[in-house]
């Protein structure tokens, strides 16, 4: 039998098929970029007899009740004022000049009844079990913002750029310049205002 020549396959519709697939994947793609507030939990340790004593004046107590109301240092407060109050507390630098705790870069009121220096200052958040998660995150966000305000100020004074901007640029890989030295500088700033957020175990509801 004579060999029949095979007809050529028409590839004209290839583009159409590819387009169809392309559109399907275009539609289903969700390039997720999750962002959030990162936290380090305290490790579980056997209870020790030695209690770390923190002076009352170095403690900034933020209390959130089950109706999402804020009690800051025994005073009722709106959420929008929290950032400023936290900045004032951290930046106070109440230790007298000449003492080892003296904070040379603080620009606060230097009220001896408030925090000695940013290294000693601790912010303690206490929640009710019935506090809404929305409020919880809002409070955490404001407190982180307070630290970022101060870190921005110091990095601008020392290096001429903003802490948060450089931090973000490094994270995204868009920082042009010496990354290593920038990271070192970031750490220096972090040491000036170390983030000391403590979380108390929430009280049982209703109290």
């Amino acid at each position: 039998m004579a060999r029949r020549s095979t007809p050529e396959v028409n590839a004209g519709s290839m583009a159409d098929i590819a387009f169809l697939l392309l559109i399907f994947f275009l539609v289903t793609t969700t390039i997720e970029k999750d962002k959030g507030i990162a936290r380090q939990l305290p490790p579980k340790e056997p209870p020790t007899d030695e209690q770390v004593k923190i002076k009352e004046k170095n403690l900034f107590i933020v209390n959130v009740n089950k109706n999402d109301q804020l009690l800051v240092e025994d005073e009722l407060m709106e959420l929008k004022d929290l950032r400023q109050a936290a900045v004032e507390f951290l930046d106070n630098g109440g230790a007298p000049a000449g003492s080892p705790e003296y904070c040379s870069y603080c620009k606060g009121d230097r009220d001896p009844a408030s925090s000695d220096n940013p290294d000693k200052a601790v912010i303690s958040v206490q929640n009710d079990r019935l506090t809404s998660y929305k409020m919880y995150i809002a409070v955490q966000n404001e407190l982180v913002a307070a630290y970022n305000v101060l870190r921005d100020r110091e990095s601008e004074r020392l290096y001429g750029w903003k802490f948060t901007e450089v931090n973000r640029a490094i994270e995204e890989g868009t920082y042009n310049g010496n990354e290593e030295s920038a990271k070192e500088k970031l750490e220096t700033i972090q040491k000036l205002f170390p983030q000391k957020l403590s979380e108390a175990e929430p009280k049982k509801s209703g109290s």
Partner: protein, 158 residues
Amino acid sequence: MSKFTKKKSSELPAISTASLPDIVFMLLFFFMVVTVLRDDNLLVKNTLPKADQVEKLQKDRSVYIYAGKPSERYEDKYGKEGKIQIGDKFTDVSNIKFALTEARQKLLPELQDRVMVALKVDEETNTGLVTDIKQELRDLNMLKIIYITSPGNEIDSQ
């Protein structure tokens, strides 16, 4: 003489579309590679709270925990109380450890020690539930957590 006169065709030459499939295929492969088909079927409501002081999540080393009220479709079955979801199913607080260990084993071995727990919690959940999860995480010694939020600011939206 006429040898050197250029032949002027009055028509424009047609643009060749022969390479169009190649271009399209290239795009197709790109999207095929970056596409992640949703791996978790959400059983809970998940409206994330807003925050703007955020960091990026490193996806390859994270384990997701969802929490919130069961979504409307599942309300009859599971009630309206806040629930925890890991992977594809609801988990009890006492069961978190087991479910998380399982989830951790799916990660790359060299990253398992540096695992980060991403908490995707609905904004209407009670903080008590989150605290319970955190206590379990401390027991498991998975101390790095990240509260996933959506961009925005709570104060501006009030």
